[in-house]
């Protein structure tokens, strides 16, 4: 089934938050933010701004009736700065005016004086100074100290990966409308409506049931609207509550890129030990996560880094330690992969470094160490249905990797200024929120008396196609045409206490809850049908909108069944609740079974490098991916291709740079470049691994959002191969992204 939104999208009729028609008297908010990275606010002069045309009011922390606190996991982040500021872009006030234009003009008239303190932007420096957002954690398996003795080869190095801006095409948006009796309706571009609701309740000092958060769809999110959407919705709600007027807050791209958090940059050290026959016997990694000025989702992201420290490999002796370092940058946040890509980049760097020093291709080490069934991950979970090897072997044979490597070697020896490189990337990604409590979801199903169906869940549609998958689930259970089904907006008054749509788990969790709700209604309908045709419930089935008794068409249509059941006072509404079974994790031992299942795959990526100019192209990305029972090939292929492109962007052109004083230098689309149509690989080929999916995946179709992102990591190592073909003296640093600048400098040893 095609994405159910696609007709709305191609006609421009799909409604995003900024497209909602405004109520009369709507006011507009523009955020006033800190201009320095660290300091104390000495004075703020609003007097000129308040006299500007159209300005209604300027709100600061003193206007907050409840708590000035928006921290998601740890309570360490204010909505508006109080005495100190900790990053450039930290909100200090909100200007409310009769138009966005007037609010923007007033912003230029505000004068803030600061006492400037030293700013820290480097995570290792922060660690040295003892600036940690929360205590470090260590995951361990076996005994690393002993294992080093047994290793024939030991290599040590460091690997850094950069930040990444989400660049969801729709910026952060919120529209808060006051309703009767002190309640509010908030339209928010958020992945986590319940978090928005809870935070607004805390800031306004009113109960959660006074706030209805509604989300139709997002214009892209990628994790950037999981925690980071909350502040803007809360500000709009605060203003609407205080002024009793509808308030719109839509961040300009510039404000969005400066004020919101991005993917965490990491600086890491590794030590890898191998046996004579290339078994990895020991691996040690220390991750310095650049957390920014507040915890945001960093504790969970750091945790996932540790979970994925060994990627797709089994290593018997592991010690992985992570520090979340407090710096004077906007709090870094969720982004597709959620700390796992950063960990895998370090593991792959360690392997590449070992291979280079041993004078062998990296794939020999990769291939030797892939995880198998019954091998343990460092966090104690035992691998089951581990398809790492199947994916790898199939990639090697299907894509004739050996032949390709030979072709590349021949090509490279025949050309002077053009070189090619190939790298492989196995991926193993765990599915579930690592915080076990979040692995629950609810759904609410109404069948209306005309036979049409309305479905609400906690899932947010942000382009990933979750609503299409939900429709498939319900249509399958009732055996009705999908056109009978409408997926409603995600609304906290209809489905409460939702987990954010994140961790690739939206379709699994909400789909399972929906299955439960639909299943209960189906059961009642079967009973009703059995009565209608004087037979037993067990014989009844629904097929193509008709009631069957055994294999006989009873002549009862879906509509008749519904209408009759309604008259018989049978409930046609049902909520369903799902909690992922069998998962647990004990933080005191750092052991458990945190993931419902793992997703596997292997990518082979080939690049061409123009050694004269330092430009490069991705020739092909060929993947064997473990979809399970792919319930929607259109949507899942789209997710895979999009994730790969984003991963390639992270490894190549997407470079976030801050000045030493914490100012974002790549602060616009003219200085921060994401892939365009010319950047896309010439060939993207995907083969489905022919293995059934696990029970815990919705319709046994495995989660797809994040795992393919990490295939893009291969581009880094393929480029290194191409550089080395031109310049054998290339030292080979691990410092992503590998921009054209770094490539050219590497080609000529600068």
């Amino acid at each position: 089934m095609k994405n159910i939104d696609s007709i709305g999208h191609v006609t421009g009729r799909s409604v995003f938050t900024d497209d909602i028609p405004l109520t009369n008297g709507t006011l507009f908010g523009v955020v006033v933010a800190s201009g320095i990275a660290h300091g104390a606010i000495k004075s703020i002069d609003f007097s000129q701004a308040l006299e500007m045309p159209g300005v209604v009011r300027i709100l600061t922390c003193t206007d907050i009736p409840g708590e000035n606190q928006i921290g998601g996991i740890l309570p360490d982040e204010t909505l508006f700065a109080e005495k100190e500021v900790h990053f450039i872009g930290q909100p200090i006030a909100l200007i409310i005016a009769d138009s966005e234009f007037n609010a923007r003009r007033a912003r230029k008239k505000i004068h803030i004086e600061y006492d400037e303190f030293e700013a820290v932007t480097d995570p290792r420096v922060a660690k040295e100074k003892g600036l940690l957002l929360f205590p470090p954690r260590t995951f361990a398996l076996g005994n690393v100290a002993e294992a080093w003795q047994k290793c024939n080869y030991i290599f040590e190095g460091s690997a850094d990966s950069g930040s990444q801006e989400h660049l969801y095409l729709e910026t952060q948006n919120a529209y808060a409308v006051p309703a009767e009796n002190g309640t509010l309706k908030v339209y928010s571009s958020t992945q986590g409506p319940a978090i928005v609701q809870k935070t607004i309740a805390g800031v306004l000092g009113i109960p959660m049931n006074h706030i209805e958060v509604d989300v139709r769809r997002l214009g892209g999110a990628f994790g950037g609207k999981e925690d980071q959407a909350t502040a803007w919705s809360t500000m709009a709600a605060l203003a609407a509550h205080l002024l009793q007027k509808p308030v719109k807050l839509s961040l300009s791209r510039h404000d969005d890129i400066v004020m919101t958090g991005k993917r965490h940059p990491y600086s890491s050290d590794f030590r890898i030990g191998l046996s004579e026959d290339l078994k990895i016997l020991a691996y040690e990694a220390t991750f310095y996560q650049n957390g920014g000025a507040a915890a945001d989702l960093s504790p969970a992201i750091m945790e996932r880094t540790l979970f994925h420290a060994t990627n797709s490999y089994f290593v018997p002796n592991v010690k992985a330690t992570a520090y979340s370092c407090k710096t004077n940058l906007p709090p870094f946040t969720a982004f597709r992969g959620f700390g796992a890509p950063q960990a895998m980049f370090v593991m792959e760097s360690a392997i590449a470094f070992a291979a280079k020093n041993l004078g062998i291709p990296a794939w020999k080490i990769q291939q030797k160490n892939l995880i198998r069934d019954e091998d343990a991950f460092p966090y104690g979970q035992v691998a089951q249905q581990a398809h790492a090897r199947e994916c790898w072997d199939e990639a090697i044979s299907q894509f004739d990797v050996a032949g390709k490597l030979k072709e590349i070697a021949e090509f490279n020896s025949a050309t002077a200024f053009t070189k090619k490189g190939l790298a492989l990337m196995p991926v193993c990604f765990g599915i579930s929120f690592t915080n076990t409590a979040m692995n629950q979801a609810r759904a609410l199903v109404h069948i209306y008396q005309d036979g049409s169906i309305g479905i609400s869940t906690g899932a947010i549609e942000m382009g990933q196609g979750v609503n299409t998958k939900l429709k498939q689930v319900a249509a399958g259970i009732f055996s009705v045409s999908p056109s009978r089904i409408r997926i409603e907006s995600t609304n906290t008054s209809r489905v409460a206490n939702t987990s954010p749509t994140a961790a690739s788990s939206g379709a699994d969790l909400n789909g399972k809850a929906l299955q439960i709700a639909c299943g209960e209604i189906l059961d009642r309908l079967k009973e009703s049908a059995a009565q209608m045709c004087n037979t037993e419930k067990e014989k009844i089935s629904l097929q193509d909108e008709k009631v069957y008794s055994g294999s006989t068409d009873t002549g009862i249509s879906w509509e008749e069944l519904i209408t009759t059941s309604f008259r018989k006072r049978i409930s046609l509404s049902q909520s369903g609740h799902y909690a992922t079974p069998h998962i647990h994790f004990d933080k005191s031992t750092e052991k458990g079974h945190p993931f419902a299942y793992h997703v596997y795959g292997t990518a082979a990526i080939t690049v061409t490098l123009d050694c004269l100019r330092g430009r490069y192209w991705v020739d092909s990305v060929q993947v064997v991916h473990d979809f399970g029972n792919d319930m929607n090939p259109d949507i899942n292929l789209g997710q895979l291709e999009g994730a790969i492109m984003q991963g390639i962007g992270w490894m190549t052109m997407e470079e976030i740079r801050y000045s030493e004083k914490g100012r974002l230098l790549s602060d616009s689309l003219s200085t921060y470049k994401v892939p365009d149509i010319y950047s896309t690989p010439k060939i993207v080929e995907c083969k489905t691994l022919d293995k059934p999916g696990p029970e815990q995946a919705i319709m046994r179709s495995k989660a797809i959002g994040e795992p393919p992102f990490m295939y893009g990591i291969a581009v880094y190592f393929a480029l290194q191969e191409a550089i080395r073909a031109f310049n054998p003296a290339y030292s080979g640093r691990y410092d992503a992204p590998l921009t054209p600048e770094k490539v050219l400098m590497a080609l000529y040893n600068r």
Binding site: D5, I677, M745
Partner: protein
């Protein structure tokens, strides 16, 4: 990107602005500096056109602009975020809503068929860009069809599904031959029937009286000015200099004369120019994107005085002359290389406008090349760009003009390197010695486009790339690899 200044001395300070928006005639007294996208979304309530960046870099706000030319209406894409309302007076503006029919048109259907939309926010922009390409009638070439969406960023799909959709559109349109593309597209369900009547409707509008403003802001394409100063322009008088009819590129006595109002697209469409610069399409595909090239003017690119201005670099190597005019005064000529005086400083008097540039067309022995490297190869600002013209006589360089951007406070004409090359044979020895001279002439700084060290290295590489591109058969040059690497060991 490119800001503008030009020569049309007609003031367009409207009390009322008239244009056709999709099917509807608009007469509005909104400020001429209001961004078109705001009018479309918040005044006309057409929310299919999205705001992604307001700097012309994402394409979510792409609309089509139809203007009259020789009795027909020519449609091009523009980004509505960088288009002040005053500039669309007398034009036909088509948004996604204007392309919707009772069923999906074949472009929309192709995107649905190939799942070329995920979150949907960028999608209307892609549809508009592709539809404009279909409307141009230039659909025979798949790579041109793909290039039509070079100004549209999609963050979800990774573009492969969009490529498949474009291929489907290409297969449907590539063989069509019709005297009227509009009629064909109406017949085939691409366009609503009312499109047929736009030429006559457009003829009757946009000629309303207007006043000469105080504090006029002279604007060409506005593609940099509107990025930097949109709010300041809101209530200013906008003086339009973008040419609306034939670009008027002239070729006389071996010289080419290009009016300042000429857009980059108009340059690209000049057949005579392409005859003299067969790689023009390749070179200019590196300059911004289709909608920006449709808007940005030659004068704007020069007057903006960016040290990295692509057109400035291009024409510096052609040793172009610039013609300036100030009201009724006589024209003032100066070599383009004298026009740039310092960072964002020009030899331009108050009130003076760029009338045209002129240069000698390359002869049979002249060889021209343009190089540009940026972080992203397309729709990006150069780290370093460079152009060269060399005249070869009896195996030796008789004349050389070399220019480079991003290596000095101004778009730089490399006089000493050019001089050094003259009278020399093209050998790697010559090139290496020339590149040493070149290093003395430049003074790059470290910034977001690259470190000073990188820019020095990159310019050396582009300098050598010029010769490898121009003289690929010179086998001696391929051994430059060893030389270049050996050079690094010192």
């Amino acid at each position: 990107m490119i800001s503008a200044q030009g020569i049309r001395l007609i003031y367009y300070f409207y009390i009322v602005i008239e244009f056709i928006l999709n099917e509807k005639l608009i007469r509005t007294d909104k400020p001429g500096g209001m961004p078109l996208v705001d009018f479309i979304r918040y005044e006309a309530g057409l929310t299919g056109t999205k705001i992604g960046c307001r700097e012309g870099d994402c394409g979510a706000c792409t609309v089509m602009e139809g203007s009259r030319s020789a009795g027909k209406v020519i449609y091009r894409t523009i980004v509505s975020c960088l288009t002040p309302l005053a500039l669309v007076n007398g034009r036909h503006i088509v948004t996604i809503e204007g392309l919707n029919g009772e069923t999906l048109n074949p472009v929309q259907q192709a995107i649905v068929d190939h799942s070329g939309t995920q979150c949907g926010f960028c999608t209307p922009g892609f549809v508009v860009s592709l539809m404009a390409q279909c409307l141009s009638g230039d659909t025979a070439n798949l790579s041109k069809m793909l290039a039509s969406v070079d100004g549209n960023i999609c963050r979800c799909t990774g573009y492969k599904s969009i490529e498949r959709a474009v291929r489907q559109v290409w297969e449907l349109t590539r063989l069509h031959e019709s005297s009227s593309t509009v009629a064909w597209m109406v017949e085939k369900g691409y366009l609503p029937a009312w499109f047929t009547y736009i030429p006559e409707r457009l003829a009757g509008i946009g000629n309303q009286p207007h006043e000469s403003p105080v504090n006029t802001i002279i604007i060409g394409g506005g593609t940099d000015l509107m990025v930097q100063k949109a709010d300041d322009l809101m209530f200013g008088g906008i003086e339009k200099v973008r040419s609306s009819s034939a670009p008027g590129i002239e070729f006389r006595d071996g010289k080419c004369i290009i009016p300042g109002t000429c857009t980059v697209t108009e340059l690209l469409e000049s057949e005579t120019l392409i005859q003299h610069f067969p790689n023009l399409g390749k070179h200019f595909s590196l300059i911004s994107s289709t909608p920006i090239r449709n808007m940005a003017t030659l004068a704007g690119n020069l007057v903006n005085a960016s040290p990295i201005a692509d057109l400035a670099i291009f024409f510096l190597a052609l040793d172009a002359e610039i013609c300036l005019v100030n009201g009724e005064d006589t024209d003032r000529f100066l070599p383009l290389k004298k026009f740039f005086k310092g960072y964002k400083q020009l030899d331009l008097q108050p009130g003076e406008l760029v009338k045209y540039i002129r240069f000698s067309l390359p002869g049979r022995d002249d060889h021209f090349n343009f190089e540009k490297v940026s972080k992203r190869q397309h729709l990006d600002i150069a780290s370093v760009n460079s152009a060269i013209l060399v005249k070869i006589n009896e195996g030796k360089i008789e004349k050389a003009h070399l220019s480079a951007g991003g290596v000095a406070p101004i778009p730089l004409f490399l006089a000493e390197t050019s001089h050094f090359l003259e009278g020399k044979e093209i050998t790697y020895d010559t090139l290496l010695r020339a590149s040493e001279v070149l290093q003395q002439e430049i003074s790059p700084i470290s910034d977001i486009r690259g470190s000073a060290k990188y820019k020095r290295l990159l310019l050396r590489q582009l300098f050598i790339a010029h010769f490898i591109e121009l003289f690929p058969r010179k086998s001696e040059l391929s051994s430059l690899v060893q030389i270049l690497q050996a050079d690094e060991k010192h």
